[in-house]
Amino acid sequence: MARPMRIRARMAGDIADVRVLMAHEMETGTRKVNGKAVPAWFISEVTAQHNGKTVMTAQWGPAVSKNPYMQFKVKGAKAGDKVAVTWKDNKGETRTDEAAIA
């Protein structure tokens, strides 16, 4: 099971600034260990939701760094609202974590 994400969401004016740190290897598939290629393993899809409503979706390639960091901004949010982030990797594993906007 994948480790939880760390989500920090903070209001700046009427916009919520959300920072997410995910725990993932993000193998490119081009790296070799002892001459053997390490198979690609990376987060390919990310969805961000605000109070259950999708505000942003992302598609990622293996060029995203290990333990990906992502920052995005949500309009019309207020303190106490819920922000949820879901990722899915190319092996089909998914994880969703939620945080309240501070």
Partner: protein, 155 residues
């Protein structure tokens, strides 16, 4: 090695099983999950990438800000931020020209998101980084050169 059911699903099913389960409502919790577009992530040049995405012409725009260091010490972790001031920005894509595949990440926004995202990408070598923005149905581009002193592909 003990083979468990979930492994079998992963290995022998992949997309087919996933979509079958999705259609049955197994993943109802994430209805808006975009499907990963493999072709967009397989291209090696800016022209090919735009072609794969079905982008006809792009306009250079100064309304797109790419935030990143001019010189990145560690190519494995290069912070890149893209903010678009263009009205009705629907999509932002980050591309690194000299990576094995250009496309690093692509963000699609609804009306409730500000088109201002940051992420960290790997860069094999110094390269131009492009931001492709779709706003009001049109495509705009901006680029910035980032020098890398230590490559990030584990070479």
């Amino acid at each position: 090695m003990k083979v468990e059911r979930r492994d079998v699903l992963k290995v022998g099913g992949g997309a087919a099983v996933y979509s079958a389960l999705a259609s049955m409502g197994f993943f109802a919790a994430n209805p808006a999950m975009a499907s990963w577009n493999k072709d967009w992530f397989a291209t090696k040049s800016i022209a090919d990438t735009l072609k794969a995405m079905g982008v006809g012409s792009t306009t250079e725009s100064s309304e797109i800000n790419i935030t990143s260091p001019d010189i990145a010490e560690n190519g494995a972790v290069v912070p890149v931020g893209v903010a678009s001031n263009l009205p009705q920005t629907q999509m932002v894509a980050v591309m690194v020209e000299k990576n094995p595949s250009m496309m690093a990440g692509l963000f699609e926004f609804t009306d409730n998101a500000v088109p201002d995202v940051s992420m960290r990408v790997k860069m094999g070598q110094s390269s131009d980084v492009y931001a492709l923005v779709k706003a009001d149905g049109k495509f705009y581009m901006a680029k910035k050169e980032i020098k890398v002193t230590l490559g990030g592909c584990g070479g």
